[in-house]
Subunit: 216 residues, 2 copies
């Protein structure tokens, strides 16, 4: 992740990794497919090289070992995760619309099969790679909460809603979106929620959240 | 799981497996420790036999293979999961107290290190053992929702609160408890939430839930 100069909407990170070359990115993409399909333990450098259409030597020249590849995948994904949790550009008076749009993006991003599969892999490998679990947490859940808490503070200052603790309120908002669909996806029971189910979830969450934070 | 005749508080299940003998249970307990520590793939029957203080032959005579042991662990745990999600025995007029007590038990059960470790293992192995992921879902999240939805229907009939969809409301209630503490535990970042943090989460959820379901 380079420092976010070209993309001001994304939070600044502190990783000074060089931008990926085309070949490097092709290997990362191939490795992601192999890891997500086989799991970390069963993924071999041979399979990754074959999937990338590269020699094993080329894979090793870009990434010394399997753990470096896994780190590159998670770090790359962390950048993708940050975009959907930025506050939507909606006028402040349309706060209900802004919250619904944020919820919609969050649910879509969280449930996207590739993201959910990676999340499950990060959970499974968190004992081996605690720093990647932490990077994932920072890029997704933590950034989402911080962005929303800032917005809720503005709304509270304007008297649009009441909150004694914007961080706690923001955490509640996102937790409301971790319902039955989420648990089922996490357990691999049902990875394709319908658009109607997602929209019902979004509406329920926004409506309950606003009722619980009604202006005094 | 035997049919719940001696333990009427627990939901009846349909598995007619014989009750475990002492040796059998000792092997299951030992296997659980090995699986949770090493992961499914890396856990060996040798390590399990050593942990149980049994011969490998004894382990094989009780369980033909590693997958049968894993199934026995998850099925045993499913019974434990059901007790905390039964509605607390509190007079109906104390509905706020009942909801808080239910939330408290749910959070404590969900975050208990052994349960969270098993949940992470079931997530990691859900592609290999979809039927175990389903059993886990039924015993925990689904039973919790069904029990609460029944209680919410009673409260709605009595005019204590409003809900157009008791199942959706029950799902919202439990999702409110899957906040930051939960995500951090899932990612292995922080498995020991303080009692004060858990209590703050419970109070926030109950209060927001009641505001969102206020009687008309």
């Amino acid at each position: 992740m380079a420092k976010a100069t070209a993309k001001p909407a994304e939070p600044v990170t502190t990783d000074d990794r060089q931008p990926p070359t085309g070949k490097r990115q092709a290997i990362i993409d191939a490795a992601a497919r192999v890891f997500l399909q086989a799991g970390y333990g069963a993924a071999s450098m041979d399979a990754i090289a074959a999937e990338a259409g590269a020699s094993k030597q080329t894979v090793y020249s870009h990434f010394g070992a399997k753990d470096a590849l896994f780190a590159a995948i998670v770090e790359g994904k962390c950048e993708d995760l940050m975009a959907p949790v930025a506050m939507p550009a909606v006028p402040a008076r349309d706060h209900e619309k802004a919250l619904a749009e944020l919820a919609r993006r969050f649910v879509a991003s969280m449930l996207a099969p590739g993201n959910m599969a990676l999340f499950r892999l990060v959970i499974a490998e968190s004992a081996r790679f605690p720093e990647l679990a932490r990077a994932f947490y920072r890029a997704g859940p933590l950034t989402a909460v911080e962005n929303l808490a800032g917005y809720l503070t503005e709304l509270a200052d304007a008297g649009t809603l009441t909150t004694g603790d914007p961080i706690a309120s923001a955490r509640l908002f996102f937790s409301m979106l971790r319902g039955d669909i989420y648990i089922r996806a996490l357990l691999g029971l049902d990875e394709t929620a319908t658009a109607a189910e997602m929209e019902a979830l979004v509406r329920q969450a926004v409506s309950a959240f606003l009722a619980a934070h009604a202006p005094k």
